[in-house]
Symmetry: C2
Subunit: 281 residues, 2 copies
Amino acid sequence: MLDGPLQSLINGQQADQISIRDRGFQYGDGCFETVRILSNEPILWPAHLRRLKHACKVLRLSVDFDLLMNEISQLLQSNNNADVILKITITRGEGGRGYAPAKHADCSRVLQLIEYIVPDTAKGARVILCDHRLSSNSHLGGIKHLNRLDQVLASAQIPANFDEGLCMDEDGYVIEGCRSNLLLAVDNELLTSDLSRSGVEGVMLNHLIEEFGKQATAVIRKPLSLAQLQEADEILLCNSVFGVWPVLEIQNVDWQAAPDQTKYAIAAQEIQYTLFQNSAL
Amino acid sequence: MLDGPLQSLINGQQADQISIRDRGFQYGDGCFETVRILSNEPILWPAHLRRLKHACKVLRLSVDFDLLMNEISQLLQSNNNADVILKITITRGEGGRGYAPAKHADCSRVLQLIEYIVPDTAKGARVILCDHRLSSNSHLGGIKHLNRLDQVLASAQIPANFDEGLCMDEDGYVIEGCRSNLLLAVDNELLTSDLSRSGVEGVMLNHLIEEFGKQATAVIRKPLSLAQLQEADEILLCNSVFGVWPVLEIQNVDWQAAPDQTKYAIAAQEIQYTLFQNSAL
């Protein structure tokens, strides 16, 4: 969904080139956020900021968040109320000896506004199960870091007429979509994957979990097998950019949505509509 | 061991900045080689080129290798016989939609000459076992790709007075050093790690395996436990930049080299000396 950028700032300066010595380029040594901007307001901003701060803490990236916030405001002021994506990339900057980071690294703050082509999520998503398996690491699980070869290689396996690819880890557990998280409705329970070793802890996923919780529907996190996927009454994709996208079919898994099963899709889409209308910085 | 670059070429042009839209920066979508240059000749070049081509095949990066070879020659001609490192980085370039790569991507070819400060490998290496565990993925195991957060986070755990950190995977198998492979001498056998799910298939490691083979010493690849590490009579680190580095001690594992056990260290160092003196393009 991301296309050519409208504008970008690197460490507060208008620029779109970075040194090949930047550790983001050399090692994927950093993390990022992609934030939907509606009416010039970043959707789910407090949750994005919380996740970014957590990623920086896990990766030990020392960022001046006041400066970052000023730069984000500066960039958004230049945006003419367009429906765009704000991509925030934080890297460890230059320096260090080979892999070993410098003791006090000057992090790079890279901000981009990227055009957003809104997908038609009203029609259900056509999904394929990808062959490529996600890497596992209990220290990096859930973190939106810059080591995204898994998502690239899995995405390359999605045919042109499909909307998303599902990924398993090497143990065969279903983790997430290439760019979205997963909710399964099974026997009137909502399930989502264990993201402690693979995948990204989604901002929209956590908003749905919180809002469903308020409606007395607990979302249960557990390792999800292919069999559980196949037994699901409803399957929903979600991310903070497109919101909620009910799944129509999953190729390679032989799963199809039953037209009469829409209870959780409707509830999740209502949560999304409320959010997208009421968002505030 | 890598410091500020002397010179660099991006797609044949003298430059040291790359677009923030380059997929190397965005996702670590690429691979690299670091090649020791001695008397203006790249050491173990055929093996480096073979590994690079294999990585490009696995990642489906379509590179013009004739062009790359010309650019490498151009860069090396500018080098005044200095002892340097040639770093070759190949990324998928720009384009695609989010993670999904473009069908026909124009890869970026980034070449850097980097000063090399030769370490004193004559004294044994002081090594520490790192807490950080390496990610596992059977599709990416052995490949020198750009997703190197594991090596960064592990390297950050090496104290200043240590030379290298050892890394295990999440199952507790000993995989490699942060920037080197491992050879263990146990009961007159040489062992090295299984690199099919984690770690980098080292060019120097494979040269040693080949040369030891000619001397009727087979190097056995198998999953290595901490117990096997502790039982080793000799432990050697190797990479294509520093060559062979016998280990003096491993902190957190309680292993120390016995002064009378030097059989394989001497044999490996002789292989290295021959290589570094006789290398040819």
